[in-house]
Amino acid sequence: MSVEAREKRQPWILLSPALMAVTLLLLVPLAFIVVYSFWLRSAVGPDIQGFHPDNWQRALTDPFYRYILLNTLKIAAITTFFCALVGYPAAYFITRSSGNKLILLLLLMLPFWISYIIRTMSWINILGSSGALNTLLISTGITSSPIQMLYNEATVILGLVHFLLPFMVLNIYVSLDGIDTNLEDAATSLGATRWQAFLQVTLPLSLPGLAAGGLLCFVLGAGTYITPLILGGPRDAMFANLVFEAIITQLNWPMGSALSLLLLLVLGALVAIYNRFLGMSQLTKGLG
C-alpha cells in the first residue's frame, strides 16, 4: 500500500471505535425507540408490534401531560433566569478582578465536581424541619416550631440553580474574558458613564456567552427528574418524571418511548433555534 493511501486510512481506523460506539449505543437506539413508540403495551405477554399512533395521540392530547410539559418548561425558564441573575455579576467580577482569575474560577467550579445527589440532598440539611435554618430560627426565638420550607416548587428551582450555576458562570466568563477592556475605556473616555459603557458595550458583546450558558441551563434543567424527586412535593413532577414512571414503574415501554421522544423534540427544537442563530461553536468553547 502506498504511504498516501495509508495516511488516508489511518484517521478512520482511529475514529471507528468511537464512531461505532456512538452509532450502536445512541443513534440506532434513538431510531429504535421511534419505532417502539408506535407499538402498544399489552397487559399480558410482549408488546404489540405494528403502527399504532395511540401513544403519540395520548402524549400530545392528554391535559395532564400537557400541564406537566408546560410546568417543566416554566421551571427550566425560571431556573435559567436565576442562573443568569446570580451568575452574571459573579462572572463579571472574576473576569475583571485583579487577583488570580483562574483560582477564583476554579473555586466557583469546585462544587461542579461535587456529586450532584449530595449537593441536592444537602438542601434538606439546611431547609429541613431539623435543618440549619429552622434550628437558627427556633434558637433565636423567631418561631417556636419548625417552618415547612422543603418539598415545593421553590426548593426544586433552588436545587436546580445550585446545580446549574457553574455552567452559566463558565460560559459568561469565557465570553467576557474575550472582550478587549480597551473598548469599555474608549466608551468612557468618549463621555459614557461606566454603567452606560457596560450596558452598551460589554453586555451586548457578552450575550453569546449568556445565551450558551442559558441554553445549557435550560436543557439540563428541563431534563432532570432527580431534583423534583428529592426536593419537590408530590405535585412538582417534571416531564422526565413521567418518562421514569412510564418506563420503570408502569413498565409501559412504548408510552415511555413516545414521552421521551416528545421531550427530545421540544428540547431539540430549542437547540436547533439556538444553532440557527448562534452556532454550536460557542457551546463547545465553554465545555472545552
Binding site: 475514529l15 425507540i33 467580577f93 462544587p111 465536581w113 444537602s122 440539611n125 439546611i126 434550628t135 472545552g288
Partner: protein, 261 residues
Amino acid sequence: MGWAAIRAYTILVYMFMFLPVVVVVLLSFNQNQFGSFPMTGVSLRWFEALWNNDAVMRAFRTSLVLGLLTALISTTLGVLASLALVRYAVPGKNLITTILIAPILVPEVVLAVALLLFLNWLGIGKSFALLLAGHVIFTLPFVILVVQARLVSIRRDVEEAALSLGASPIQTFFSITLPLLMPAVAAGALFAFTISFDDITGTLFWKPGGVETVPTQIFSMLRNSISPEINALGTVMIVITVGLPLLGAAIARQISIKRGM
C-alpha cells in the same frame, strides 16, 4: 453600582455555592444521635457506621469498578478519536465532531431510555454490561473535548523529528506521542471516572435490581430519612470526586516541574 457592590454580591454567590457542601461535611462529624443541628461534639461514629454498612460498601465497590472500567474504555476510544481529529485532515470533520459529542446534546433521560430499550430488545437486559455501555457513551464526549483541547497544544515537529531519525510510526507513538499525551489522557480518564462515579440519572434506568452504585444507594437511603450516615457518605464522595482531580493536577505539576517544562 460600584465595584464594592459587585464584590459583595460575588462573595454571596460563593457562599451560596459552598454553604450546602460545608453543612454536609460539618454534620458528618456530628456527635448528635439524630445527626441534626445543634452539633453536640465531634465524632467519627458515622464513618465507622458507614464502614460497617455492607450495602454501602458493596455500592462503593460497584461504583469503583464501574468508574475504572468506564474511564479505561472511554479514554481509549476518546484518545484515538481525538488523535484522528486533531492530527489528520479528515473530510467532514465538523459532522464527525457533532456525532461524537451527540451523547451530551441528547437529554440523559432520553439516552437512558433509548439504550435500555434497544439493548433489552437485543437480549441484554438490565445488567452491569448495560450500565457500563451507558456510562461509556455519555462520558465519551467529555473525554473527547478535554483530550482534544490538550492535544492541540502538543507540537507536531517533535514527532516528525523522531520519524525523520528513523523511528517507525508505532515506535514514535509509544516513545514520543504517548508520553507527551499523558496529561491529556490522565485528564480525560479522571473526567470519565468522576462523571461515572457521580451519575444517577442514567444509572437508575440501567441498574439491575439489587445492584446499587454510591449515588443510587444514597438515593434509596434518602427515601427513609436523612441520616447522618448519608452525610458521612457525602463527605467521602466529596473527597473522592474533588480530591482525586486535585491530587492528579498536583502530581502532573510535580512531574512537569521535574522535567523542567
